[in-house]
Amino acid sequence: MELTKEEEKILTGAYGKAYQKAMKVLVELGEFYDAKRLVPVKMAFLTIGPTPGNPGKGKEWLKELVDLGAKFKIPSFYPHERAENPFDHELNEKLGAIFAFQGGGNARNAFYTPVFGQHIVGDGTATTHYMNSYIGARANTECFIGQYSAAIIGKTPEYGFHLSENRKGRILFEIKTILKDETDWSALGYYISKKLGKNYWDVPVINGIKPDDVTNDELLSFSSSIPAYGAVVHSLLVGVSPESLTLEQAFDYKKPEQTFIVEAEEINEVYNTFSPEKEKPDMVSIGGFGVNVSIETVIKTVELLENKKVSKDFPTVILMDGPVRIVSDRMGLTDALRNAGVKIGMEEFLKDYGYDPSEITNIPIMSAKKLGFKTVVFADAKSCHYIGNQGVNSVLKHIEECIKIAVAGRMEV
């Protein structure tokens, strides 16, 4: 990789050890992927995430950079919910982070958005997918090591989805069925993700959806699940993605390497993968891991629960964050949900059920086993996939069915 004189100086330590350490990461990464140079990045969305240790070796690595005097070079956003942790707050504050809504890899909360063609650092996979696919910004999915190194230097190696040639469509998915809600879109994401599971670099092209057939919330739901089973963080939705206004453009006027037809059967296959083994669930969770709900879903949930209460046999939880939570509070929706017996966030459930918050994490995909959960119902495929790590039978249902199960206290097996 060719470095400018200034970059060489950083690498040799002329600006101190912190910048040298960050630059070494970028150079090693760039050389591994045959990048020719570093490119400037305009902004960084950051996440460290949960870690088995306390504070964890990852955070210690970051603390070393902070102690060496590193500062962010570009606007860098750290999710405000995670910044409630004093250790994370102090580290990120010293680096110069903006504590924005951007949280848990959820692009719905992006406080600051790039414009078409800009190189950025893309937080979690869902945000990276959204920014690549629907804004046309350019990002790879990297963990905190790459994210923070790039934010400190203000540059990233030019590889992967920073390069035009890697952003062209490779595999065609022809949609021949109607996707009726966010849950169906998350099921489609899971289906595509599983088909392409072994390759980060395949770019799927989704054809057959008109702009009037899809909402931004559905694209956000799709963005959360398409990198869940597999690794896709850039796809092209014909007629919607700015780099694929036509099918021909999506494939750069070449033929697709492979074509899949998606009919109702393929979507049903995903629901069947996550079907119940017993009739009584241990929890119904609207929203789950990295897929916090849209305001439309909150409104729908309140409507479905009008004059009803959820069963007391198990918790029904709704996970909201960022602006959605603020708007829900402001509109009285949060109170309406509480009155119907719904727990607002895992924290409320843990408190009400008498769990010690220092013993049990509020992320179901890490705590389900400790809580003794065997069956959990979700309205999104990403959470269903992740909670498989806890040996839990996860069940995928549309929001209407989730509420029906929550009220009835059981489901059909």
């Binding site: 870690t51 964890g56 090591i145 390759n199 980060y200 990198p227 597999g230 994490t361």
Partner: protein, 146 residues
């Protein structure tokens, strides 16, 4: 059949290591696939039955972990950093094509990683084979168990 196979690939990250192979056919995301890491990183195993049928219940500590690539989820690196601190990390990684998160965790943990080999490592290498990884040269030497 010859007992030794040599695979040649791209220059990797890190230096060299050798050990017994564990071969996984699915892409890996430690957040979704290794649930018991939250209770005890030193005892990490693959716990997701639906996502990880080829290695369900198996451990990778001190082995050469062969898998197609990383997958969605960016937390594999901080999780692996704690697994490594608990002495249970693999000795090296071999991929068909390395996911950026795994390249980055290899850089920081100095665990050798190689990819872009001239044969598919997930087909050529079987669990239990003895494998030597020279990441600086991008070479993998496989001594077949049988």
């Amino acid at each position: 059949m010859e007992n030794k196979i040599v695979l040649k690939g791209h220059k990797g990250i890190g230096e060299s290591a050798e050990g017994e192979a564990i071969v996984c056919q699915e892409p890996i995301n430690l957040m979704a696939d290794t649930g018991n890491v939250w209770n005890d990183p030193s005892d990490t195993s693959f716990t997701n039955k639906i996502a990880m049928p080829s290695v369900y219940g198996k451990k990778f500590a001190n082995k050469i972990l062969v898998f197609p690539t990383g997958k969605g989820g960016i937390f594999s690196s901080n999780i692996m950093m704690d697994i490594a601190a608990a002495g249970a990390a693999p000795k090296a990684f071999i991929n068909v094509r390395t996911h950026p998160v795994w390249a980055l965790l290899s850089i920081v943990l100095k665990i050798p990683i190689v990819d872009r080999l001239d044969q598919n490592p997930c087909e050529v290498i079987k669990t239990g084979d003895w494998v030597r990884v020279d990441a600086e040269k991008g070479i993998v030497e496989v001594t077949k168990k049988n």
